[in-house]
Subunit: 89 residues, 5 copies
């Protein structure tokens, strides 16, 4: 799963059937590249999130018939990278 | 979903069966790389669009037997990236 | 679909069952990276082609049991990127 | 399969159903990019691991209904890259 | 299919069920990045190989229940990139 920061909202027209109801979010990755993802968990601009790609992106939605290749999986509250944490695993 | 700008039309020969009827568009990504996508929503040169890749690209087409790995999902009318928008979510 | 130039032929041994009969071509992408693709449309060295990746690469072959993750979809005869073309869409 | 070093733990909220029970790990790739993966083998911070992506990431889990696009496949104990090893194959 | 050079062997622990019996090889791509692939054709260190990724990587194995996202498809004996070869196609 990739890590992105939510950059804002996105307004689209001409959506395909099955994408009309999807709440889309604009994401920015660690290199500054923008992507669009489906958000069903209510992330906010500025949140760090991880995303689920590929066929799993559809499985993560309550309605499996919706079409997406990138879905926000969760909001990252914090992470721990100290070497000392390895003992706690 | 990735973000591209529609760069123009593309003329191909020797298409596979199941690709003959597909309207193909030339896209350019944020780094200037060109890609080819199926467009069933009528995007125009200069439009910013987001695309659906992988197996979902086929699901986005009315006829699921058509072959594609990249389909235009919608035209991006505008996006909002101000921090102040996060409260509205 | 990605865009490549056909760079030449490729000779392989120890192919998997289901890959023995596949005509393989050496491709070069826009950054000079080499890839290998299945070609069932008879492209020639120097041709610009677009390719189909992922599970769709298998669907593009007449025999769906053949194994590939990259198949040439068509030869690109020419493309038009002028802004004036957008009106014709 | 890609190679990563386990960088630490990650704490998330608003997880999708089917991801609540998944033990997530923060990984760092060879270029310093961070990713999130499911770990069901008990890797520790500092370990080098290889990961399974795409639909295979789900197949690698005991419960196939869990949602992931990246699963740790194994801990890499050591590797041998000497030319002399080729004779032993 | 991507092109790699076989860099050596790799020793792992804590493998998932369904990966225990897989012969894994360490590969190096054209930019020096290391990857891990399943090898069922007996490639040797120093060999240039092409690999099959995604769901096709599993289909390339005799036992389809084995888990992989990258499988060596064949050893590349030589390639021809001269323009003059195009006439022979």
């Amino acid at each position: 799963m990739e890590i992105f920061q939510v950059a804002g909202a996105i307004v689209c027209t001409h959506r395909h059937e099955g994408m009309e109801k999807l709440p889309l979010r604009l994401l920015k990755n660690q290199k500054g590249k923008y992507m669009v993802a489906v958000d069903t968990i209510g992330s906010r601009t500025g949140n760090w999130v991880y995303t689920i790609s590929g066929s799993a992106a559809r499985l993560a939605l309550p309605d499996k018939s919706l079409i997406t290749d990138l879905t926000i999986g969760g909001v990252i509250e914090n992470w721990e990278t100290e070497e000392s944490n390895s003992a706690a695993t």
